[in-house]
Symmetry: C2
Subunit: 415 residues, 2 copies
């Protein structure tokens, strides 16, 4: 089954605005085996909108429109959809009454303009909206399913999940898609590809795609089946094969990011952590403390940007910096040891590097980063050369620091 | 003039993928007075794609398609556009030769499949691509302008700016749009609206829209004129009126974010800064050190998550915390003073609060944050109650800390 999604509203075409309903609906439709063939954002223009509905209803099995159901003269979705479907709009007395009651509940009188929110396409069924005044609509147009939903994600999403998805799932014949994402922080895209391609290419179902990001490679496995269980079992089989090929490399297969995984590991094992950050400037601390409950393991971070701060706070011997430079294995090691000693934590990790655009020397280019970990009976250091500009270098360094913690806590060999 | 933008490629419909060419092109088209009425993302499907081109060419003055110009069988843009325009495709000998030369330059032999990249729609003009193998195309289809461009932003953007925009600008009769964004960190959307609406509503040109974000309100002024200068002058007039209504409140009108503005202020005045962060957990430090050259003013940050860390690093008297709590005006003040003393900087700012979801008490709800600034002859403290969940509270607290620095350095009254 093929779907088409329409997002209605001139404001969504603002270059600074991001339309998010389309991605949400695409993901949910895929979970019931329906592929989205087109996503359209259309201005509040009666003619363009009607044409968009007409084209969608001529080719898609499922058409889902969001937005344009409000009470103003800019809200043209109901009328445009009705025209495209060749049907009349009529004012539904039950909906009108419900609207009046809703206003009364908030101690207000309904303005006449709001009455158009009670207009229903001939033959359509109203979809209640628990969180807003605009109800949705569902029409079976000669076997093609048309849904009109409100634009605000907080209203649209629960309506979609509870009222739209069950209808689409049934019509889709109960085919289900399940996607699982395997995340790897310690290997580049092409290295992962080389190891896992010979396995995943033997599968037509699940399909596998590989995505590279800053300091992370993701494998997306999408399995199809007659039921969600069957699809999940297919994904599980391939996923466990991939786990076998990449022992200890996959840090997440449940959607969590690396900071969440590290936070859960440290909390679960009752380990405390301190950080000494130079080039990442607080990024690792900010990511870890973004996780609720991080105070269970996170004690403090020293963001030691200047050499003086490294000496003052971490007791780094100025001679080490003078001899080897602030960006060196020796300084990273001294920072980690100093942080652990000063904070009295189980573990400490230090990051020092050249984020750019300035600061590079002939033998120390932009992107050169040293990471060190000090802990009870553990002592690791890593020299890394990250590609890209300031933001990407910092993001990759932060990711590498988190992976270093994960591997040390799990007793995995350094990368 | 009305424009329609087509993004071609099934991978762009992945729920995790973000299509960015549309926003870029929309912004650039607005600068020459062309409004985008629809943006469409279409799968690599010959029939859907041809229909999308057919519809766009039936209603838009300018049609811009990105992607699908590569050498594989999935690359259907050329063929679909040609069919929709009712024109033939022919292989251009000059383009073919240029392609062969390009491969030779990289020491490779061109595979036969690549030859289709030399296919040109009858009557179209080829648009050279300096950064990739896929040339673009430009066709005047009975007064409607059709452009086919490659998908990678690094190839598309320079081609758009140098080759597409001049043609569109001339056709648009030289009308120009200029947008300026005024950013305010210290007032909510409705407070800003109340003060500036009576002024901006007297203008039809520029148009003004208000956008609220975490800890920030933006006013977007878009002026139109016969030239960019004329449009800019109209924007300037309204902008200076708004500046007058909001003295000291607008921190940026040139696109910079608050961290960049604060970084430039501190660098420019030769002031040094230390931070003491609790609930923001390194977020303020991470934002400031994201700015290139931040080592000129940024000395260090103490991310003191535990009470012990606040005592160890900042010398906060444990009795203050015991008496008033870690989230209190007194603790914030002691943290800022302690940080300034320990770091020996000109200024220090401290943030302590309850980010949630846990940690709230009856008289200290989630979102309560205290900010303090200590400096040479300056001493400020602010109690704030931020709405939202953990991420939003932290983002707003970080923004408030940066605004506190900006106002103190500029000698503006506290908010």
């Amino acid at each position: 089954m093929k779907a088409e999604i329409l997002a209605v509203g001139s404001e969504l075409l603002d270059p600074l605005r991001r339309e998010t309903n389309g991605a949400y609906i695409t993901g949910r439709l895929r979970s019931v085996g329906v592929d989205v063939f087109a996503r359209i954002t259309v201005a509040d223009d009666a003619s363009w909108l009607e044409q968009a509905f007409r084209q969608a209803l001529s080719r898609a099995d499922v058409v889902i429109a969001t937005g344009g159901l409000g009470p103003t003269s800019d809200d043209l979705t109901r009328e445009a959809a009705a025209r495209a479907a060749g049907r009349a709009l009529h004012r539904d007395p039950g909906l009108l009454e419900a609207l009046r009651e809703r206003f009364a509940r908030f101690g207000r009188v309904m303005a006449p303009v709001n009455a158009q929110q009670a207009d229903l396409i001939e033959g359509a069924v109203s979809l209640p909206n628990a969180r807003g005044s605009a109800p949705g609509q569902y029409l079976d147009q000669g076997g093609r399913l048309l849904f009109l939903l409100p634009g605000p994600p907080g209203e649209m999403q629960p309506m979609f999940d509870a009222q739209v998805l069950p209808i689409v799932r049934e019509r889709a014949g109960g085919r289900a898609l399940v996607t699982r994402v395997l995340k790897i922080a310690s290997m580049g895209e092409s290295d992962v590809e080389q190891i896992v391609a010979p396995l995943y290419k033997t599968y037509e179902n699940p399909r596998t795609t590989i995505l590279g990001g800053a300091g992370q490679t993701e494998l997306h496995l999408t399995g199809e089946g007659a039921s969600e269980e069957e699809a999940a079992a297919r994904v599980e089989e391939l996923a466990s094969g991939i786990h076998g090929l990449l022992p200890g490399r996959i840090f997440s297969d449940d959607g969590r990011d690396l900071a969440e995984v590290v936070a859960a590991l440290l909390s679960g094992r009752g380990k405390t952590l301190a950080l000494a950050e130079s080039c990442t400037g607080g990024l690792v601390a900010a990511r870890l403390t973004a996780v609720p409950g991080s105070s269970a393991f996170f004690d403090r971070a020293y963001v030691t940007y200047s050499n003086q701060a490294k000496a003052d706070l971490l007791g780094v011997d100025p001679q080490i910096i003078e001899r080897h430079g602030a960006v060196s294995e020796e300084t990273a090691r001294a920072m980690a040891e100093g942080a652990r000693r000063a904070a009295g934590t189980d573990l400490a990790v230090a990051i020092t590097g050249i984020a750019g655009p300035t600061g590079a020397t002939e033998d120390k280019p932009v992107g050169l980063v040293f990471l060190a970990l000090a802990g009870d009976g553990v002592d690791r250091v890593r020299r890394a050369q990250f590609p890209g500009e300031r933001d990407r270098v910092r993001a990759q360094a932060a990711q590498a620091a988190l992976e270093m913690i994960r591997r040390a806590v799990l007793g995995l060999a350094p990368v």
